[in-house]
């Protein structure tokens, strides 16, 4: 799909002290695709995502989301952001958490809240207080909070960390069906079998986008059939360059 662009960055830069977290980064994410952001810890994935949402400020460069320049608070109702931390109110129930974030985005329909909870298969625990839920269940609540207001762009920072393989598969099923409905997803990950499920992959290292392409393209670029090995090869090339 080469439809309209949902995320565009140009020459994006952000430093924390001497560390250049994002460096001259140009990124394009198109409507209805799942863009996988891969790279080692500390390579700048989270900073990039925060720049896209507009909760971090770029030192230089430009970010446009859904055709509007970031930061723009009116955009935020159309973005769903799931952070690496659970980011839940532990003394509220799962449903209360979802309802809270939904109403901040202007959505007050109880049916939509039920639907989001059902989507992450949490209906039977929806009225439990979050502090009583296990880590995996809490990730589901976080995801429900991020997608309850039906955003056009979902930015998910390692959504499947601590999630068991079965639920992970079901998460990815939902991601795919959302993408099919025209939702754009930007997902960071460490896990290679997840990378295979993306339409487009970007390999990040030291704040730069080293290589981009579909999983097949990256495999051929890295000169091996094994995606993980392809990444290691590409990373080495990038490092040498």
């Amino acid at each position: 799909m080469t439809g309209e662009t949902v995320v565009v960055t140009r020459e994006l830069n952000r430093a924390f002290g001497a560390v250049q977290a994002v460096q001259n980064l140009d990124l394009i994410v198109r409507k209805g695709e799942i863009y996988g952001l891969l790279g080692p810890n500390g390579c700048g994935k989270t900073t990039l995502m925060r720049l896209l949402v507009g909760i971090a400020k770029a030192d230089a460069g430009e970010v446009r989301v859904l055709g509007r320049e970031v930061p723009d608070t009116s955009l935020l109702a159309e973005i769903g952001y799931m952070t690496q931390a659970e980011a839940l109110y532990a003394d509220l129930t799962a449903r209360e958490n979802v309802r809270f974030f939904a109403s901040l985005c202007g959505l007050h329909s109880e049916a939509a809240i039920d639907q989001a909870i059902a989507l992450v298969e949490l209906s039977d625990r929806a009225d439990d207080v979050v502090s009583k839920l296990s880590g995996g269940l809490r990730r589901r609540v976080s995801l429900a909070c991020a997608l309850v207001h039906r955003p056009k762009l979902l930015i998910l920072d390692e959504p499947t960390v601590g999630v068991d393989p079965q639920l992970r598969a079901s998460f990815w099923g939902h991601f795919r069906s959302m993408a099919d409905r025209g939702v754009t997803l930007l997902i960071s990950s460490h896990v290679m079998d997840e990378a295979e499920r993306c339409d487009h992959l970007g390999l990040m290292r030291s704040g730069r986008l080293l290589a981009e392409g579909s999983p097949a393209e990256l495999r051929s670029l890295g000169g091996t059939e094994d995606l993980e090995q392809a990444f290691l090869n590409l990373a080495e090339d990038g490092h040498a360059a």
Binding site: R50, V53, G54, I55, A56, K57, P71, T73, S74, L76, A77, I79, Y81, T83, Q84, A85, E86, A87, L88, Y89, A90, F101, L104, C105, G106, C145
Partner: protein, 376 residues
């Protein structure tokens, strides 16, 4: 028990505390500062007692034709004392100064003072005190009575016994008011301020440590809405808390209360709003809940010492008085006392209310600004 494990454990704890500069400050510096301030305040030389004298005494003519004005003689004798300053005033003016705190008491000599004294009748002196500070109200008549008792015998030409009666009149409160009655209002304000500050500080900190703050900023909610939302949420509980404390102290502990309840709530509400926002502001400078608690000796304790609880603000040296005037509790205490003990109405505490309102708005702006700076 193994020595190496033990030293490893102790060494780790020592390293952690040493790295935490605030804990180091709390352990060593804060107690010194607090003790110094406390000692300074308690040993403060509040200067001479200032009295106004109002003389209605018309005096008397002795058989040998000399004119005697006993009040004047007494005033002269008292004025020689080191720690007493006397000024002559009209009664109305003196009472106004007394309420403002510029005077400690008023001495009133009635018309027949000299006559009664010379005739051996019961002579009256009236001492007027403000009344809302019981330790002062009780001490002053004693001090004055004693001083007068020493001087009076010299006025009597014959050795006949003298009969001097000292009457105390209270502008506010009265003999039936004890320590609790007069300090109750101030404590209520303190409770509200303290708990609201602490609770907001900690829950706002949690908002950051559990990552929900970041999530909030990724939604359309504005910083102002976050701060105001906290304000309404905690403001409600601050008012409920005030209601419970107030009703409990009035009806169960039974302290004297003459003022307007609605006005007290308004006051406490404004104070609570300020405290909520101050809590938000300070929590942005804390990384752990312990660090929020560490702000107590810095934010709360000086206000306890300086806001008029221990020493009247007027009696503080200039520098500390300026500090006290920057503290919301100073105004809350004054207004609470004005309303609950003096029975003042809205127009009389309007200035304090306005200042508390300004504090609340200032703290709101401060907290919203720190929220903005924190993320972008």
């Amino acid at each position: 028990m193994q020595r190496r494990r033990l030293t490893a454990m102790a060494a780790r704890v020592i390293t952690q505390i040493r790295r935490d500069h605030r804990s180091m400050g709390l352990i060593f510096v804060v107690p010194m500062v607090v003790m110094w301030l406390l000692g300074y305040i308690l040993r403060l030389d509040t200067g001479p007692q200032e009295f106004a004298v109002v003389v209605y005494d018309t005096g008397a003519v002795l058989p040998n034709g000399a004119r005697v004005l006993a009040a004047e003689e007494l005033i002269g004798a008292l004025g020689d004392a080191e720690d007493i300053e006397l000024r002559e005033f009209s009664l109305a003016l003196a009472e106004a100064e007394l309420i403002e705190g510029a005077l400690d008491a008023i001495l009133v000599f009635p018309e027949d003072f000299t006559k009664d004294l010379l005739m051996g009748d019961e002579a009256h002196i009236e001492i007027v005190v403000e009344g809302s500070n019981p330790s002062q109200s009780e001490a002053l008549p004693l001090v004055l009575g004693a001083a007068l008792g020493e001087e009076v015998p010299e006025l009597r030409p014959s050795g006949a016994p003298i009969d001097l009666q000292v009457d105390t009149r209270y502008l506010f409160a009265g003999e039936e008011y004890d320590f609790l009655d007069t300090f109750g209002p101030v404590y209520i304000a303190f409770f509200v301020y303290f708990f609201v500050f602490l609770l907001t500080g900690v829950s706002f900190l949690r908002e950051r440590t559990q990552g929900t703050m970041e999530r909030l900023f990724a939604t359309p909610i504005t910083r102002g809405e976050i701060a105001l939302g906290y304000m309404f949420g905690f403001g409600l509980f601050a008012l409920l808390q005030s209601a419970v404390i107030l009703l409990f102290t009035i009806y169960v502990v039974q302290i004297q209360f003459v003022g307007n309840l609605a006005l007290v709530f308004l006051l406490l509400g404004l104070l609570a709003i300020g405290a909520v926002n101050l809590g938000i502001f300070f929590s942005t400078y804390a990384r752990t809940e312990l660090q929020v608690i560490q702000f107590i000796p810095i934010v709360i304790y000086p206000q306890v010492l300086l806001s008029g609880l221990l020493v009247a603000v007027e009696d503080l040296p200039r520098l500390l008085r300026v500090a006290a005037q920057l503290m919301p509790l100073t105004y809350a205490n004054r207004a609470m006392t004005d309303v609950m003990i003096r029975g003042y109405g809205l127009s009389e505490v309007a200035l304090d209310l306005a200042i508390l309102f300004a504090f609340a708005v200032g703290a709101l702006i401060l907290s919203a600004t720190t929220l903005r700076r924190q993320f972008i």
